[in-house]
Assembly symmetry: C2
Homo-oligomer: 127 residues x 2
Amino acid sequence: MHRILLRTVIFDYPGDVHDAGRDFWRIALNAGLRRGVKNPSTTRSKHPAALGSILVQNLNDGASRIHLDIEADDTDAEVDRLVAAGAVEVEADRRLDRARDPGGLLFCVVPAELDEGFAQFAHTVGS
Amino acid sequence: MHRILLRTVIFDYPGDVHDAGRDFWRIALNAGLRRGVKNPSTTRSKHPAALGSILVQNLNDGASRIHLDIEADDTDAEVDRLVAAGAVEVEADRRLDRARDPGGLLFCVVPAELDEGFAQFAHTVGS
């Protein structure tokens, strides 16, 4: 058994539209911006008009897309559970697992931030 | 001045993968499902492991994508504000406005559900 929570939306942009996308969502969500510490290609919205976290990421190339992060307090168990449910793992590294749902949409499984919100809203899953 | 809040994520799928996508996210987010009343092509997650609402929509064709709904208690003012910030309006009908951000990502502006969550988390924007 482990706990999971979806609470982060990430706007991924190629380099030619990244700044325009980031600046648009800052205004749209009435937010401040904070450059990512661990990942400088990522900008985090501060106090956006949103539930959860909003990130903007510079992918350099590819097409614009939105992806979601699922936080888990046991990422290995969560990836196993989601693969059993039909996800396809794309890539795993030290910090996160990338996968696609059965419709081809990208999402990530990331280590949970074990804060009050996670304690309050996470669901217990698995066996 | 009006109020806005982003709290709905919509998974849009073409018909051939819609059911698989819907069923995957039901399991992934440990949720129940409820068929949309106003829009029967839409399924709403019940009590998902997520902040905010998760919908799954059958688009019949096109590519899988994720889009977001911005709730506003004055949708006309909000669309005007977002167009001034760089959005491009795609389509407007009685129930919602579809637009694209400067990176080409689709989002909608929809009438706010004026519940406790909106009162608590919405931001006041505009002039």
